[in-house]
């Protein structure tokens, strides 16, 4: 096993720690190669603690160390903040649950559960792979929360520290309750069925008759917890619905269950029959199974994140020239903050010191980092690229330009309302028709035989109980949800699939959604450049830390670099220098051409070049569009109204027209608020809107739309609140997903028909007053099972046809 690993390493130069390609074999310990010093450090740390089993459970299990900068976790010494993060403490022993998004293999579980070897203060640590969390119990006297977090960070498992995530536990409790209810209902259904066997076999014997009545009373005993506990939420939901004057599917179910129970009690106590308790308990059992099936959730994903989970929970502030940390919530206007490389600006502020390149791509949709000068305003949510800067806040976190978006009422969504769910529309008419049939049958027999009238009336309500109807939706959509999940499209709940089936308009964000993140390509247009000139350009841009310079630097494949003289950099405009007696300038049109009239004052997506004051041409920064974009858009063109909302300028408009049809609406320089209103206006025109975005700037639009899908390069990364998370590589299947949700709706419709056929057969017995418990006990489970089998088969067959399985 180990020998094989080494061979692979030799041939391909793969990092022993993280499995990524190594540029060369310079960083190595013995025969083990590493791609970077970060990975090597982690290996050394694990080796020193005798924890190298980590590398034998899975090959190259490590997480690539993205940056060497050690994060500052001083804020974890803040008692108040600490108290909100931990689960429990008695002053000595503390337990805390961390979310570790990097968890991805068996080795991860192993290392997370062996933390005590590296930090003796850790008493016990237990990982949950599916939820990607680790619970740690530690001794306050021997170690601190900060030390544990630093340890996790140093081995590549930086916890996602977040105050907002604590609420998740609520849904876990609800889930547990469902397991209890399922157990009780299943237990009762099985036993009651056994006790009902003499009745099914119609054995008539004096001794047996004695037993039968004993069994009946036992059945009541078993059915009581099912009626009062397991079925309770259907009664509650029906009551709540009726209160709002909505007849949801739980209304006919509740009527059915109640009538079943009461009639059974009546028959048993008057000794006129054995009742239908077997049907009732089995019915409740099936319903709960359906509900469990529908409730499949992606425990490791979070669909409700707002800006708070994107922002850091603490920042470094400068007070009296001393660096301290402060929780973001307590940040005041006028605080001086130190923002280091790759850190976020937590509140709108003014740049005091340092050279700032702010990457706003996630916030406003602008694809290139923007250079700021001292005194410039920096909006919250931007990410600093480069050295440390000092800023002074001018607004509170919640009142900043971006975070104000969350004050919009689009975020005050009610609890998931499923009034528009298809099954509830059907059940409204269904309930009405059933009550009419029951009454008519009752009245018809009333004149001749009151007992028969009572029998017929209750039998109709019993047999019409729409168990199969109630099961078709959860099973179809539950299957669809799983099929989507296999294709890395994770939806929040099954309601989303129903909504997705009825959309009529699709709105795209540009940056990060249509384009690939972090892979801009630079093209040169203009006079041909000699090798010598290329060398000059490369030598010049090497001195600038501007991101565009780095892009140009990577463009030319020239090895030799010459020394330069008289280097001059004008922030936000360009750079120039004299190299080997040649003057060379790179920058904005104004800077390079002294062209005062140009509207491109600042560096935009075009970077001009002049050598010895002769303009040679320009470098154009292009976004790379997703490779399958053309195909995806063509498949959508004829069916949906398409629009693009971009936070960027319109320099890409021409490019976009290559992909999109003419009638596509394209809006540029859209603020987050603009996007929100655009979606709301579309909805006012009775469009069902599907919004696809990726950043915080789309959060408002995602929330306002009927279905908001967020695209993620890595599903564990931050994604704004949405209905579904689509893995970037699966973007090409977008049309398949929408089509398949339509197919699901058709499958539900067909299974409704199947369940109605069973209902009609049952009703034909019921209206005559001849529905025996045996027929009921056969018919009801049979209809449920055939619906479950049909929906499962149908969804899988169609998924295969659509290439989703």
């Amino acid at each position: 096993m180990l020998l094989e690993t080494k061979k692979v390493i030799k041939e391909k130069l793969i990092c022993y720690h993280c499995g990524e390609d190594c540029p060369d074999d310079e960083i190595a310990i013995g025969e083990k190669l590493f791609c970077c010093n970060g990975c090597k450090t982690v290996y050394e740390l694990l080796d020193a603690n005798d924890l190298c089993t980590y590398y034998t459970i899975d090959e190259a299990p490590g997480v690539k160390q993205k940056n060497d900068i050690k994060k500052n976790f001083d804020f974890l010494d803040d008692t108040e903040l600490k108290e909100r993060l931990i689960d429990f403490t008695d002053g000595k022993i503390t337990t805390i649950t961390f979310s570790i998004p990097q968890t991805h293999c068996s080795s991860c579980i192993w290392i997370l559960e062996n933390l005590s070897k590296m930090n003796p203060g850790v008493i016990h640590s237990e990982a949950n792979f599916l939820k990607k969390i680790v619970s740690i119990k530690f001794d306050e006297n021997e170690t601190t929360l900060k030390q544990i977090v630093e340890l996790l960070d140093s081995i590549g498992y930086e916890p996602d520290l977040n105050l907002a995530e604590k609420e998740k536990e609520k849904s876990a409790i609800i889930n547990k309750k469902l397991w209890y209810k399922l157990g009780v209902a299943g237990f009762a259904a099985g036993n009651i069925m056994l006790f009902s066997f003499p009745e099914y076999l119609s054995i008539n014997d004096l001794d047996i008759d004695n037993l039968k009545s004993a069994f009946s009373y036992l059945n009541i005993l078993f059915a009581l917890p099912v009626f009062f506990y397991s079925a309770s939420e259907y009664f509650i939901s029906a009551y709540k619905g009726l209160k709002k004057k909505i007849v949801n599917v739980d209304v006919p179910i509740s009527i059915g269950v109640i009538v079943l129970f009461l009639r059974s009690l009546y028959e048993i106590f008057t000794q006129t029959g054995v009742g239908y308790l077997d049907s009732m308990t089995a019915l409740v059992f099936f319903l709960i199974v359906g509900r469990m099936f529908q409730n499949k959730t992606y425990a490791a994903l979070n669909f409700d994140r707002n800006y708070k989970s994107y922002f850091p929970i603490a920042v470094t502030i400068l007070k009296n020239k001393i660096e301290t940390t402060k929780p973001v919530e307590k940040l005041n206007v006028g605080d001086r903050i130190i923002i280091k490389n790759a850190e976020l600006i937590p509140a709108d502020s003014i740049l005091i010191n340092g050279s700032a390149f702010i990457d706003y791509s996630f916030v406003t949709g602008e694809s290139n980092p923007i250079e700021k000068e001292n005194g410039d305003m920096i909006y919250a949510g931007g990410r600093q690229v480069g050295g440390a800067i000092e800023v002074e806040t001018i607004k509170e976190v919640s009142q900043s330009y971006l975070t104000q978006l969350w004050n919009s009422k689009a975020f005050d969504k009610d609890e998931e309302s499923n009034i528009d769910a298809f099954v509830n529309v059907v059940s409204k008419y269904f309930t009405f028709v059933i009550i009419v049939i029951a009454t008519v049958a009752g009245l018809y027999w009333f004149s001749t035989d009151t007992k028969l009238a009572f029998n017929a009336f209750t039998a109709v309500l019993i047999i019409a109980c729409p168990c199969a109807l109630a099961l078709s939706t959860p099973f179809t959509l539950g299957n669809t949800l799983r099929i989507f999940g296999k294709n890395k499209f994770y939806v929040k709940s099954t309601h989303v699939i129903e909504k997705l089936a009825s959309i009529s308009s699709i709105v795209f964000d540009k940056t990060g959604t249509l384009t690939e993140t972090g892979s801009a390509t630079v093209n040169y247009e203009g006079d041909e450049l000699t090798e010598k000139e290329k060398q000059l350009i490369k030598s010049l841009v090497r001195n600038s830390s501007h991101p565009l310079s780095k892009n140009i630097y990577n463009l030319f494949d020239v090895k030799e670099i010459t020394t330069i003289e008289n280097y001059e950099e004008k922030a936000g405009l360009g750079i120039k220098a004299i190299i080997d007696g040649t003057q060379i300038q790179i920058g904005s049109k104004v800077y390079v051409n002294k062209d005062e009239e140009s509207d491109e004052i600042n560096l935009s997506t075009k970077v001009y070049l002049s050598i010895n004051n002769v303009q040679k041409g320009f470098f154009k920064v292009n976004n790379t569009y997703r490779p399958e974009l053309k195909k995806v858009i063509t498949s959508l063109t004829n069916y949906y109204k398409l629009s693009i909302l971009s936070g960027d300028n319109n320099s890409e408009q021409k490019q976009l027209t290559n992909y999109f049809p003419e009638k596509t609406k394209m809006l540029f320089k859209q603020t987050p608020y603009n996007k929100l209103t655009y979606v709301e206006n579309l909805k006012k025109e009775n469009e069902k809107v599907l919004m696809i975005g990726d950043g915080l700037n789309d959060a408002g639009a995602l929330s306002a739309s009927n279905v908001g899908i967020s695209i993620a390069e890595d599903v564990n990364n931050f994604s704004p609140a949405c209905d579904g998370i689509l893995y970037a590589n699966s973007f090409q299947y977008l049309n398949n997903f929408i089509n398949f949700s339509r197919i699901s709706r058709k499958i539900i419709l067909i299974s409704f028909v199947i369940s109605f056929i069973y209902n009609i057969i049952g009703l034909s017995f019921a209206v005559q007053g001849t529905l025996s418990p045996v027929i009921s006990a056969i018919l009801m489970p049979l209809s449920s099972i055939s619906v479950v089998v049909f929906t499962t088969l149908a969804t899988n067959i169609f998924a295969k046809k659509k290439g989703l399985l």
């Binding site: 089993t53 068996s106 579980i109 792979f129 209890y180 237990f187």
Partner: protein, 59 residues
């Protein structure tokens, strides 16, 4: 025939015990994580090996 009643009482008691065992299992969190324990069970063996194997490896 009356022995049947005894048997029924006994079988119901056994069934209720199983239900109680199930409810306890749910309550104690055995249904919370149905993946990690399947991996964890394999670790103990590895732990013993660990003492020897990496050492050999270095030499």
């Amino acid at each position: 025939m009356s022995v049947i009643f005894l048997l029924i009482a006994f079988s119901s008691f056994v069934a209720i015990m199983f239900l109680a065992a199930y409810l306890w299992a749910v309550k104690s969190g055995q249904y919370d994580d149905n993946y990690t324990p399947s991996v964890r069970i394999l670790f103990d063996n590895e732990l013993v090996k660990k003492k020897t194997e990496p050492e050999k490896n270095k030499k």
